[in-house]
């Protein structure tokens, strides 16, 4: 069973996804990242009202196995953070593109050239 990469999302090499609706970006991590990390025990996300910067880290995901930085493809203001994921990281593993989203950002700066399409991302993974 290979992981899914929805067509309407954009992807980073470092396994974050970005879903744009108008000027709001939803950021999360891909099914591949979830599978690679294994049991996720801890998610650290920025507070609502703080800023994230394109190309910089905005939080961390920690599993029993490893800790990974979360990278942002956008610059902007955090408008929402998914508290259920912070409280119960299992949600992230179960549904990374749905209930497992991480933060929503009011986008000020975004360059699609920083990101990959679903098929490009899949190609990176499969080599």
């Amino acid at each position: 069973m290979s992981p899914e990469y929805p067509e309407h999302l954009r992807y980073l090499d470092s396994h974050e996804y970005c879903g744009l609706e108008g000027s709001i970006a939803t950021l999360g991590i891909t099914a591949y990242a979830v599978e690679e990390l294994g049991d996720i025990v801890f998610v650290e996300l920025p507070a609502v009202g703080s800023r994230v910067t394109r190309g910089q880290t905005f939080g961390t995901v920690e599993s029993v196995k490893a800790v990974e930085d979360l990278n942002s493809p956008v610059t902007g203001l955090v408008t929402e953070r998914n508290q259920p994921v912070v409280d119960a990281p299992e949600v992230l593993a179960a549904d990374p593109y749905g209930q497992g989203w991480l933060i929503r950002v009011q986008v000020e700066e975004y360059d699609p050239a920083d990101t990959l399409s679903a098929s490009e991302y899949r190609q990176r993974l499969e080599g």
Binding site: E35, G38, D39, V41, F42, E62, V64, K65, V67
Partner: protein, 361 residues
């Protein structure tokens, strides 16, 4: 080139997520580290540990000839007993930790050493250099399958498959055995803090044994769970918690050092360290949050870096992070609080008694 164990195909067939470890391709996990961890704590779990180095030693007066090579007194070992010990460099630093299984026999006597995979080649060279004449060493790594079967139900589930009364096999003993009618060897040793066994069998018998035990209820487990289990039991991992720069006295292994025996490599250095006083000790650390102190993270006290975490994880049986690390002796008593720096922030950790987890008897 990554090496594969005799059980490699079975592991893939069972859906293992593989990882590279010490030059070997091994299962990291099958159905999740936490689930596998729990299986070992409550029932039984199977691990392919065929990567671990094996040396068969044969020689007249084998025990006497090994005595100068280890700090532990082997003279009271009876055939069928095993001893955990270390190899030391002349500075008292740990070259490897291992279990020596004494098989006995008159002229010549036999024994088996099981060592860390990543140290096998170095150990072999060191042993060939330091073993006195008359002891023959054969590296038999990966000839056979080596399977660890660990957990409170291990004996119950293994018993129907072997021709030996497991009740008569105490901890740290071992014996030749028939497994599913085939010749093999088993020891009541492990690396999880649970009761359990390590079995050496042919690759084919290994596969049959694995399937039979899974049929009885055992879970296939990978290196991920092996690491969380050994850390809860506060068992050091060579390369992280133990290395050539740490002595057994610093690493909490002073019980391995027998001062009443004769000369052994590293004795002088250890003796000097004992008399001048230890500067640092390996301690257990706990922290109430969810941030895991990991290998290399600085340990701080009153704003100063005083040591480093050598390994850490979330302890699945305890529900909070645990770690091992070296701290100055003055800060090594249980209850002492220190800080650990995790990605720029300092969190409180407390020195804890080891092991973190102890099985109910």
């Amino acid at each position: 080139m990554t090496r594969r164990t005799p059980l490699h195909d079975l592991m893939l067939h069972l859906g293992a997520r593989m990882t590279k470890f010490a030059g070997w391709e091994l299962p990291l996990s099958f159905h999740g580290i936490l689930q596998e961890h729990q299986a070992v704590r409550t029932g039984g779990g199977l691990f392919d540990i065929s990567h671990m180095g094996r040396f068969e030693l044969v020689g007249v007066g084998l025990i006497d000839k090994l005595q100068p090579l280890v700090p532990t007194d082997l003279s009271r070992l009876q055939p069928g007993q095993a001893q955990y010990t270390v190899l030391l460099n002349p500075e008292g630093g740990i070259l490897d930790d291992l279990i020596f299984y004494y098989q006995g026999g008159e002229d010549p006597a036999r024994g088996l050493m099981i060592v860390n995979a990543g140290r096998t080649a170095a150990d072999e060279a060191w042993l060939q250099t330091n073993l006195p004449p008359g002891v023959r060493l054969e590296n038999t790594t990966s000839k056979q399958a080596l399977i660890a079967f660990q957990g409170p139900r291990a004996a119950l589930w293994l018993q129907p498959l072997v021709d030996l009364d497991l009740e008569k096999l105490p901890g740290f003993s071992h014996s030749p055995v028939r497994v599913l009618g085939q010749p093999g060897w088993l020891a009541r040793t492990g690396y999880t803090g649970e009761d359990g066994f390590e079995l050496l069998v042919s690759p084919q018998t290994g596969e049959h044994l694995w399937r039979a035990l899974q049929g009885a209820g055992a879970a296939a487990c990978g290196l991920g769970a092996r690491d969380t289990l050994r850390l809860e039991a506060a068992l050091g991992l060579y390369g992280l918690d133990l290395d050539e720069s740490t002595t057994p006295l610093e690493a909490g292994l002073s019980w391995l050092v027998d001062w009443s025996k004769g000369e052994f490599i590293g004795r002088e250095a250890l003796s000097a360290q004992k008399h001048s006083g230890l500067h640092r000790r390996l301690v257990g650390l706990t922290t109430p949050g969810r941030h895991i102190p990991r290998h290399g993270y600085p340990l701080v006290y009153q704003g100063q870096k005083v040591g480093e975490v050598t390994s850490g994880t979330l302890a699945p049986s305890l529900g909070h992070p645990i770690a091992l690390g070296y701290v100055p002796r003055a800060l090594s008593s249980p209850g002492q609080t220190l800080g650990v720096e995790i990605r720029g922030q300092t969190w409180e950790v407390t020195v804890a008694k080891r092991p973190f987890y102890r099985r109910s008897q």
